[in-house]
């Protein structure tokens, strides 16, 4: 009756050698191409360092002014500006200014990359039915796979530091923007598309003049989610060498510094609120002219 209680697993020798082979070849890959992989990502590293220096090196009053101005431009609403300024001030008072700037710069660059990657992918996914099926499966896996798991190959290939952390954040944050770009384009009114065709639009004209503008509110919702995911990933990415608020949280966990954890946690929440309010308000302003058409 032993076999009933013991699942008939693959021979453990075989499993072990399988694991060894895969891990071994990945390591061999890293040893052989490690330098060229690093060279390949060198420009990315420079971009990351540039933005971090920009955020950390700029005098704090200027940073508050610029972020407040962005809040105003996006939302045209003083309460949003007030929320941005108050949150930044609170973060600064708690002594977390530099770490917060590092986190903001990472989240900002990660979001930009996710948008640059996600919107074209969403458009392609919308155009090719077969690609959509494949992509949907991949996105499902990406969104349910525990992020710790895909940290491993990233670390094996690139070691510890800014670039692997950044890549992990982008991978984690990109699915919503891909999905919502596809969804937004799919939701565009069929009759409007027909009108675009009837007036002789080329595919590009249709995309640029009709589909993207009409999908924009949905795409903005995707961008908003992407930002939130990126912020959420910052703590996990600190395990592989990303600096900023996440690293403080990690230290707090390791040393049981409850207050440090809470402060840094709230700072992350504060940044999330800033990004969220700005992107939401902008998305809503985009919708100003699309009240339901009378029929």
């Amino acid at each position: 009756m032993d076999w009933l209680f013991q699942f008939p697993q693959i021979d453990s020798e075989l499993l072990l050698s399988l694991k060894r082979t895969i891990d071994g070849s990945l390591r061999a890959l890293t040893r052989t191409y490690g330098q060229s992989i690093e060279d390949f990502f060198y420009p990315l590293l420079q971009v990351l360092i540039f933005f971090e220096k920009l955020m950390v090196g700029t005098p704090w009053p200027l940073v508050i002014l610029v972020l407040g101005a962005i809040g105003w431009l996006a939302a045209r609403n003083w309460s949003v500006v007030a929320a941005v300024v108050a949150t930044l001030a609170a973060i600064g008072l708690l002594g977390l200014w530099t770490d917060a700037m590092k986190t903001i710069s990472l989240v900002f660059t990660a979001t930009i990359f996710a948008i640059l990657l996600g919107i074209p992918l969403g458009i392609l996914m919308n155009r090719f039915e077969r690609l959509r099926k494949v992509m949907q499966a991949i996105l499902d896996v990406m969104q349910t796979m525990p992020p710790f798991v895909y940290l491993i190959p990233v670390v094996m290939l690139l070691g510890i530091g800014r670039v692997p952390g950044f890549i992990a954040v982008v991978i984690y944050a990109v699915p919503p923007i891909i999905r919502l770009t596809d969804l937004g384009i799919r939701l565009v009114d069929k009759e409007v598309l027909e009108a675009a065709d009837a007036y002789g639009c080329s595919r590009w004209q249709k995309l640029q003049k009709v589909q993207i503008p009409l999908a924009m509110p949905t795409i903005m919702a995707g961008i908003n989610q992407t930002i939130m995911m990126a912020l959420g990933m910052v703590v996990i990415a600190s395990m592989i060498g990303v600096q900023g608020l996440g690293l403080n949280v990690l230290q707090a966990i390791a040393n049981q510094y409850f207050t440090q954890g809470i402060f840094n946690g709230f700072a992350i929440v504060g940044i999330a609120i800033i990004f969220d309010r700005i992107s939401q308000a902008y998305g809503q302003r985009l919708q100003k002219h699309r009240g339901a058409t009378h029929a």
Binding site: A195, Y199, G200, R290, T293
Partner: protein, 350 residues
Amino acid sequence: MPSENASIEIRELYKIFGPTPEKCVALVRNGVSKADLGREHGHILGLDNISISMPAGKIQVIMGLSGSGKSTLIRHINRLIEPTSGSVIVDGRDVLEMSELELREFRRNRTAMVFQRFALLPHRSVMDNVIFGLEVRGMERAKSREIGMRWIERVGLHGFDTRYPHELSGGMQQRVGLARALTNDASILLMDEAYSALDPLIRTDMQGMLLDLQKELNKTIVFITHDLDEALRIGDRIVILRDGSIVQQGDSQDILLKPADDYIARFVKDVNRGRFLKVGAVMKPLTQSETGSLPRLDFDTTLETAAKRLADSPSDEAVVTGDGGRPVGYINLRQITSALSTAAEAKPDE
């Protein structure tokens, strides 16, 4: 881009929806009915052997109830829908043989379309909607705005050019739709139930505007409707569709006086005949050249007007005049009354 006239010739057009429509064309040609095609072969017969010849510069109405295939048919003219078999010839060129690029040029320059639910771009102002076709063609903005402004004024939207579609009522939105089509200066205007979503009064206004515009523009207009009154009012020629095939073709007088079958007769029954029937269609032929002092009526006069004129005059008979005031027949109150009241039996020469 002068809009020279364009005739449209639709020949033996079939459209079958389903997984393998090509194989079913032969079945339909051999007389398999729509119901059988659906039940036994799993295909839907959209259009069944449609041949219509639409003369240039006229308003061709295609009428039918929902599901009759009228919207499918109009979309074949600019090939928004590919037919299963047949040809659509515009000015001697088969639209169905155009390459993608040629088709795009054709749509940009030769046709313009107005949609039932307006299909305006909500993120663009009225002006930017109106000049959409010109923008797609690549016309420079200042020039296209000038043309756009002219049409915005012409359809009665003066001062609304910076508004957005959602700020306008349905009737005004459709004026934008019409202005967008007219701005394109295409010789063919396709109107897919353009007025069906509008209130009756506004619809009547828009019909009047279309007829006025047509007097100066002489475009080839294909107008889809499910409303017989609308069809009779604006159609130079009318095609009635049912279940994807043509039941009757002709002008309004043919449809009213000689309905092809019971289906059309039932439609025609509820129409105000006095408003659409013309004395030319019910008059008696001229027997003697003596026309004397009788009142004169143009052969295009509606029976409604004719009855009123005769009732107001001492005589109850009138001379019907044709082109250039030449007498072509007689009409009296008795004939008018008979044509107004009888349904199918009224013959022009009784």
